[in-house]
């Protein structure tokens, strides 16, 4: 779809300049350096630049350009784009700054540009970007300091500075790229378009991105879910903390979005999140050169015990297992290695090991079916010939279908070895932990690409009754709904505790008598969001007298805490005992939509933060994962002889809530707290709900 963007037959540079140091000159220089197609400089003040015939406007050029790179002052860009449209240009890269990032006038200009581009059916990269590079076609339509080396990594970045830094780093390490895209303000083309494009690009085998936000979260998830089956996607998403997200908002005029939502969305769509640019570069080096393993069983080969132990620890923390070797492997190792060596995993070939010993050990271990990948460690000891060890490792790695990552630890003494590894595209990491983390990324991708996405089952629900409850609340200008809206749950088949909403003490007594004791009494008031905090909940009421006293003291307490609260009555609930309290919640995330939350309930839930998140819609598979991923999950499966809770009923409820919040986008927040889960086979019941409605 975007071939003409990356492989155009001709490129116009609007705002081309002959003055050294100007962006218009740098772009032209870069194009001339490696691009083989026709280059058309546009500048009304010149007839010729760097030997190329120059035209006043793109409409004056005899041949149409397929791609136009715009390096004009922002105010002149809309006019230039109009002319591109008239000249039948397919794609534009707007490098110019001074758009949305700069203020209101800039934002207006940006909207105008987007409108013009849409009007003519063109596509636009930027504005406010570094440009794009395609090493296949030799196109360097950017003002980067140098052209990228050819490789199989496609990289996009919302920061131009990270683009240039990465290019320079890659140059030093010999890492190459297929495509390089500076996303800029993403007024038209965004990460979603480029993900799709790179999925089908034969020259790309791994996709990397630095993002400060995504443009359309649900679409991103849908695309990434598809693309991640074909190619690994590694993303650094910044703005994770309060201070970081403030910087994102200030920089881009967008919300950074909640980090939980990004984690959930990435995990669900198969995107691997790197915690830093360094980690992203580590991962893409591994992906660009090494095969993806079938499992997570790792062997470690080392000439130093300490490094081996560190690596073993790191493997454990990264969720990798150390392979248990076949007996034959151990026997073969025993044959050649010094008797003092360690033949089990981590394999210690000892400090005096020569390259042939390394080679033998690697070959032997690679043959073992219990090994999915190898981490090779080397410490430069007096007898260590780092260079020839590197050569042997390279030789074995190139021939292997299992991934091999290295950590030659040291400084000047390992440089020679490192160079050899770089030349052979074997990633070497300064310290073992980074090698382990990269190996874990390879292994995780092995799981991701085989993953099957199950569409959530459709749940029969009485949407109409929910619709009318919400409509009524809105007409009364109520934005927070509580207990009085239990029927919403009933409409979705979520079991609720037996309740009765009453207005007077007498009614409360009658309802309790009819329901049977013990009962719980809760205040009904749209002015009160935390009932417990104001004395609005009384539990374990055993008889008529209890109900009467509870009613009077509750009214007195509530009025004392919130004198102006309008109390519409109380709710009498059947007291449920013998269950465990869990919470199911939803908060509509600005980027990804409904973010479901699950956690164990109780007083300390806000402190412990032992909760899991997923982006709706979810089916039973993800729902089950949400449950099992909280730390306190064993409490639900039963500890110390307790009977297990009815986990299936929680899974069901989560799926139902998922559908409810998908069906009603006006529900901005939702919470069942608590959901009382009874022992296995006895189900669960919602005890209380709270939801926030949007204004339109």
């Amino acid at each position: 779809m975007l071939e003409k963007l990356f492989e155009p037959t001709s490129v116009a540079v609007i705002g081309a300049s002959r003055t050294k140091g100007k962006v218009g000159r740098a772009v032209l220089d870069n194009l001339i350096e490696s691009y083989k197609g026709e280059i058309i400089p546009i500048n009304p003040k010149a007839d010729e630049i760097l030997g190329l015939r120059c035209y006043p406007t793109i409409l004056d050029a005899p041949n149409a350009a397929e791609l136009a790179v715009v390096v004009l002052p922002a105010a002149m860009v809309p006019d230039a784009l109009e002319k591109c449209g008239l000249a039948d240009v397919s794609n534009v890269v707007v490098i110019s700054a001074g758009f949305k990032e700069s203020g209101i006038e800039g934002a207006k200009l940006e909207r105008r540009c987007a409108d013009i581009v849409r009007k003519y059916g063109m596509r636009m990269v930027g504005p406010n970007c570094l440009g794009i590079i395609d090493t296949g076609s030799g196109l360097n339509a950017s003002f980067a300091a140098s052209m990228a080396k050819k490789g199989n990594i496609a990289m996009m970045s919302q920061s131009g500075a990270i683009c240039t830094a990465t290019l320079d780093w890659a140059d030093a390490r010999g890492v190459g790229f297929s495509k390089f895209i500076s996303l800029g303000n993403k007024a038209d083309l965004s990460e979603n378009d480029f993900l799709l494009e790179m999925a089908d690009d034969d020259s790309t085998s791994v996709i990397a991105a630095y993002l400060e936000g995504v443009k359309d979260g649900p679409k991103f998830m849908e695309i990434a879910r598809e693309v991640s089956h074909k190619k690994p996607i590694v993303v650094v998403k910044s703005g994770r903390t309060a201070v970081g997200s403030r910087a994102v908002s200030s920089h881009t005029g967008t919300l950074a979005g909640s980090d939980e939502a990004y984690n959930a969305a990435f995990a669900q769509s198969g995107v691997m999140r790197a915690d830093s640019v360094e980690q992203m570069l580590d991962y893409i080096r591994a992906f660009s050169s090494q095969p993806v393993p079938d499992g997570k069983n790792i062997a470690i080969v080392t000439n130093a015990g300490g490094l081996g132990i560190l690596t073993a620890d790191a493997c454990h923390y990264a969720g990798l297992s150390l392979s248990s070797f076949d007996e034959s492997t151990i026997d073969r190792l025993r044959e050649m290695l010094s008797p003092a060596a360690n033949f089990y995993n981590p394999v210690d070939v000892l400090g005096d090991a020569h390259s042939d010993i390394y080679g033998y050990a690697l070959e032997t271990i690679l043959d073992d079916p219990n090994v999915d990948g190898i981490i090779v460690l080397t410490s430069p000891q007096a007898m260590t010939d780092v260079k020839s060890i590197a050569e042997v490792v390279a030789e074995k790695a190139v021939a292997s279908r299992k991934p091999i990552l290295c950590s030659f630890v040291g400084g000047t003494r390992i440089e020679e070895g490192e160079d050899i590894l770089d030349q052979n595209h074997i990633p070497n990491f300064a310290f073992p932990e980074r090698a382990v983390s990269s190996m874990a990324a390879l292994c995780n991708y092995g799981v991701i690409r085989k993953r099957v996405h199950l569409e959530p089952e459709n749940i029969n629900a009485d949407k109409e009754s929910v619709s009318s409850i919400l409509k009524k609340a809105r007409s009364e200008k109520r934005h927070t709904l509580g207990l009085e809206s239990f029927d919403i749950l009933k409409a979705y088949g979520i079991p609720t505790v037996g309740t009765s909403n009453v207005k007077t003490l007498q009614e409360a007594i009658d309802a309790s008598e009819e329901m049977g004791y013990p009962v719980v009494m809760k205040v009904l008031s749209s002015d009160i969001s935390h009932k417990t905090d104001v004395g609005g909940v009384r539990i374990g009421l055993k008889d008529r007298d209890d109900v009467e006293r509870a009613y009077h003291t509750m009214m007195s307490d509530v009025r004392r805490y919130i004198p102006n609260a309008v109390i519409s009555g109380v709710q009498i609930q059947k007291m449920v005992t013998g269950g465990k309290e869990v919470i199911i919640g939803m908060n509509r995330d600005v980027q990804f939509g409904p973010l479901l939350m699950f956690g164990l309930g109780g007083t300390y839930v806000e402190v412990l933060k032992d909760v899991s998140f997923s982006v709706a819609p979810i089916g039973k598979d993800i729902s089950r994962k949400m449950l099992s991923s909280i730390k306190t999950y064993p409490i639900l499966t039963g500890v110390r002889g307790e009977s297990p809770s009815d986990i299936n009923s929680i899974v069901d409820t989560l799926c139902k809530v998922s559908q409810l919040v998908m069906d009603f986008s006006e529900i901005l927040e939702f919470e069942i707290n608590p959901l009382m889960v009874l022992p296995e086979g006895q189900g669960c019941v919602a005890m209380d709900i709270r939801l926030t409605l949007g204004s339109e």
């Binding site: 758009f99 209101i104 934002a107 940006e110 997200s245 908002s249 919300l255």
Partner: protein, 355 residues
């Protein structure tokens, strides 16, 4: 010539609104209406002359030509307080009576607005009941009905009026919709049993509590940075954005129609407010926000205004603006008149004061 003094249990109970509304209704009925606020407590400088803010408002609404010092003969200045405490005799009753007779000329009815609460001015011998007896006028008592405790307040206030004949009636103001039945079926009959006539029960009304953004801009001397074409939108609440961004978004969403006050350097909170589509952003501390945020606000059509003051002082100003139905805008006057016509026994009231 008829007259009535409109008094209230506490300040901000709705005296000015009722005065204006009743005055307009009377004018519409063909009466010539006079107005007096005997004791000015909200001083403003009008071209070198000290006056009272409410009085100025009424001069405009009723197009009054009377002298300012007849409409508001006594201004509560610091000097006045010191003199009163020192026991300096000022003969206020004469000043009052003279001004009243000036204002009454050629008028069918004079509306007299009390000062603050019913007991305000007592240290000068000028509480509402005292003024009422000096001028020989009846009183209409307005009380904001926030809870059943308002009944206590009413009974207490009435104790201050020694002569029961002086009370024309009371109006229960800003009654929550959900309390309406309770008030009409229990509170009103109870008061009637005590010999107190309730001439009106006015429901809470969001239009009256709201202010247009332009008024906030004017009052805070704010600079409009974005969204200048949306300044006539009305806001009903203000929120303070001082929390973590994810909590902020929830908080803003629960209170649509709000204006959000936050620091100019809190880009995250500003974006959360824009995302939650609040009505207006007030940025404090004279800290210019980032251009990117302004661009987004402009796109969303949300006014962003910048003030010099810090967040605390801005909150203070905002307290005085929102919820105190001042009538700078036509639509509020119309709404008030409509509310009075539908909920107050105006004819009954007129006959009590002999009109």
């Amino acid at each position: 010539m008829a007259s009535i003094l409109i008094s209230s249990s506490e300040k901000y109970s709705g005296k000015s609104s009722l005065c204006t509304g009743i005055g307009i209704i009377l004018q519409n009925k063909g009466y010539s209406v006079g107005y007096m606020k005997p004791i000015g407590n909200m001083l403003v400088d009008v071209n070198g002359v000290l006056s009272d803010e409410d009085a100025e408002q009424m001069r405009r609404v009723f197009d009054l030509k009377d002298d300012r010092n007849h409409i508001t003969p006594i201004l509560l200045t610091d000097n006045l307080a010191e003199d009163a405490l020192a026991g300096v005799e000022k003969h206020f009753d004469k000043t009052l009576a003279d001004a009243f007779s000036e204002v009454s000329k050629d008028k069918d009815v004079v509306l007299i607005e009390g000062t603050g609460g019913i007991g305000g001015g007592a240290m000068y011998g000028l509480s509402d009941p005292q003024v009422s007896s000096i001028l020989g006028t009846k009183m209409l008592l307005v009380t904001r009905y926030d809870s059943v405790y308002a009944v206590d307040r009413i009974l207490c206030d009435i104790e201050l009026i020694h002569d029961p004949d002086m009370l024309a009636g009371i109006i229960l103001n800003e009654v929550d919709e959900s309390q309406m039945t309770y008030v009409c079926e229990l509170v009103v009959p109870f008061l009637k049993d005590k010999g107190i006539k309730v001439v009106g029960v006015l429901p809470k009304d969001s239009t009256l509590r709201s202010v247009p953004i332009s008024e906030i801009v004017e009052d805070l001397h704010a600079e409009v940075l974005a969204g200048s074409e949306h300044l006539e939108e009305l806001v009903e609440h203000y929120l303070v954005g001082a929390m973590e961004v994810n909590s902020a978004i929830k908080y803003f969403r629960r209170n649509p129609g709000s204006v959000v006050i936050t620091g100019g350097d809190r880009a995250d909170i500003q974006m959360a407010a824009i995302e939650a589509r609040v009505k207006c952003l007030v940025l404090t501390g004279n800290l210019q926000p980032s251009g990117a945020v302004l661009g987004s606000a402009d796109e969303a059509g949300i006014p962003v205004v910048l003030v010099r003051g810090d967040t605390m002082s801005t909150i203070g100003r905002m307290e005085g603006l929102i919820g105190h139905a001042r009538f700078r805008k036509e639509h509020k006057l119309d709404r008030m008149v409509e509310l009075i016509e539908n909920n107050v026994d105006v004819d009954g009231l007129l006959s009590i004061i002999g009109l």
